[in-house]
């Protein structure tokens, strides 16, 4: 197992831990924590492939990750604002309690 495969395994482990958290935890904030873990795993993937690529002068990998970090930060802010607004209305952040759209 070469070094690139080691980095990819670490990033896929991070991704699957985040995925497990999103699918199992009931608190909306922890779902967001899981999403941030998945985004981090994808960024790690990008940088790993950039680092081991033969064309080292291309900074596309780094720029992709920079934009990804910025988008993830903006999405975390908006998501948490939504959670705060939902808490004010439902008095709970449990995802099972927010079922206003349930048929």
């Amino acid at each position: 197992m070469n070094e690139l495969q080691a980095y990819l395994l670490i990033s896929s482990l991070l991704f699957c831990v985040g995925l497990a958290g999103v699918l199992t935890r009931r608190n909306a904030i922890l779902v967001l924590v899981g999403i941030e873990l998945m985004l981090n795993a994808a960024n790690l993937n990008f940088i790993a492939f950039w680092s081991f690529s033969p064309n080292a002068a291309a900074v596309d990998g780094i720029l992709f990750v920079i934009f990804s970090i910025a988008i993830a930060a903006a999405e975390a802010a908006v998501g948490l604002a939504l959670i705060i607004a939902i808490y004010r209305h439902y008095k709970s952040v449990n995802v099972d309690d927010v079922k206003g759209l349930k048929g």
């Binding site: 197992m1 070469n2 070094e3 690139l4 495969q5 080691a6 980095y7 395994l9 670490i10 896929s12 482990l13 991070l14 991704f15 699957c16 831990v17 985040g18 497990a20 958290g21 999103v22 699918l23 199992t24 935890r25 608190n27 904030i29 922890l30 967001l32 924590v33 899981g34 941030e36 873990l37 981090n40 960024n43 940088i47 950039w50 680092s51 081991f52 033969p54 064309n55 080292a56 002068a57 900074v59 990998g61 780094i62 720029l63 990750v65 920079i66 934009f67 970090i69 910025a70 988008i71 930060a73 903006a74 975390a76 908006v78 948490l80 604002a81 705060i84 607004a85 808490y87 004010r88």
Partner: protein, 165 residues
């Protein structure tokens, strides 16, 4: 795979598992910050210094703090009432184990993962800045608009109308 990479990888994944499985939410966020730090160290190890420090600044310095504030504002700071896992939690666990199985099969067994010369790059921040200003100026401006819109949207959504207790 050498020892430092193994130790950093184990630390990152272990703190990610702790972030998703602890009961107290504040402990979860602290473990998440540790996981972010582990990923930043991996970025530095791969030779992407700017991204590594940007990761520390943005994720640990902003996103983790933001999550802590959201926890405090929604009064979820203590332990969650039992049961805090979904009733069918093992479905989610089985799905993520299956996803990890597929990914690791693709990584280890495929044979298409042939790395080039490892870390032969000497990318400077000046190169990143030049690229941002010449070839990537449109995504940069769009990112500015997005961040402004996100900031305004977050303020509007969380705005407290009228009465306060």
């Amino acid at each position: 795979m050498d020892l430092t990479l193994f130790i950093i990888g184990v630390l990152t994944v272990a703190s990610a598992i702790a972030a998703m499985s602890l009961r107290n939410l504040i402990h979860c966020v602290l473990a998440l910050a540790l996981s972010f730090l582990g990923v930043a160290v991996l970025f530095l190890r791969l030779g992407a210094e700017f991204v590594g420090f940007a990761q520390i600044l943005v994720y640990i310095g902003a996103v983790a703090i933001l999550i802590v504030f959201a926890i405090l504002l929604t009064r979820s700071g203590g332990e969650e009432p039992k049961p805090f896992f979904n009733v069918q939690w093992w479905y989610g666990l089985a799905v993520s184990v299956a996803v990890f199985g597929c990914l690791s099969f693709a990584i280890l067994g495929g044979g298409a993962v042939q790395p080039g010369a490892p870390m032969a790059n000497t990318t400077s921040v000046k190169q990143i800045g030049t690229e941002l200003m010449t070839h990537y100026v449109l995504p940069l401006e769009v990112m500015g608009v997005l961040l402004t819109a996100a900031m305004l949207g977050a303020v509007v959504i969380a705005w407290q109308k009228g009465e306060r207790k």
